[in-house]
Amino acid sequence: MYDWLLFLHVLAAFMVAATAVIYTAVALGASPGTPAIRVADAIWNIGGLGTLVFGIWLALYVDGYEVWDGWILGAIAVWLIATGTGEQARVQLAEGARNFAAVHWVRTLAVVGLLVLMVWKPGA
C-alpha cells in the first residue's frame, strides 16, 4: 500500500514538473504549439490534484507523520502558491500577456520549493 501511494504521489509530482519544463520552453521563446500546451495544462491539473491527494493519504498512512506537521502544512501552502501562479500562467499565456514569464518563474520556484520540502522534510 505504502509503495503504491508513494509511486502515485511521485508520478503526480513528475507531471507537475513536466508542465513546468514545457512552460519554461515557452518562457524562453519557443513555440511548442497548442496541443503541447493543452497536454501541459492537463497534466498540471492531474498532477496537482494527485500530489495533494496522495500526499495527504501518505501523511495519514505513514506512522510518525501527521497532516499538521510543519513541513506538510508548509508544503500545502507552497502547493497553493504553485496552483495559483500556475492558473495565472495559463491565463496569461492564452492572452499573450507580457508578464507571463515572471508568473511562470514564480510557479517554477514554487515547484522546486515543494521538492525541497518533500526531500528534506524540515522538522520531521
Binding site: 509511486f7 513528475f14 513536466a18 520552453a25 511548442p32 503541447a36 506512522d63 510518525g64 507523520y65 525541497v116
Partner: protein, 153 residues
Amino acid sequence: MTLLAAIRPDEWNLPLFLHLVGAMTLVGALLLVGVSLPGAGRVRTAGVVRLGFRGLLFAALPAWILMRGTAEWLASEENLDDDPPGWVDAGFMISDTGFLLLIAATICAGLAARRAGRDRPPATGLSTAVIVLVWISLIAYLVAIWVMTTKPS
C-alpha cells in the same frame, strides 16, 4: 514498517534532490518533444523541429547526466554499489538504455532540424523516428519511476 520506509539519513538528501531534479527535467523535456512534434501535424514547421532538437540537446541530455551521476552518488551513499539489489540494477539498465535512445533521438532531431533550416521539405521519417524513440523512452522511465518507488525484490 511504514515509519522505517519513510526515514533516511540526511546525507542522502542532496543527491536525492538532484537525482529527482534531473529525472523530472528529463521526463519533462522528453514529453515536450514527444507532444510538440506530433502536435504540429504532418507538416512540421522548422521552428517545431528545431525545438525538438534543442529540447533534447540542451534539456534532456544534461538532465540525463545529472540524473545518472546522482544515481551513482546515491548508490555509493547507500552502500549499494558493491552488491546492488534488483531494483537498483533495473534502474541503471533502464537509464543506460534510455541514454542510447536519447542519443539516437538527438541525432535524428539534429538531422531533421538541419534539413528544415535549409528550407527543404520536412524530413517526416526523421521526425517520426524522434517521436517513436522519445515515447519508448517515456514508457521506460515510467517503469523506472515505479521500480524506484516500489523497490520490488
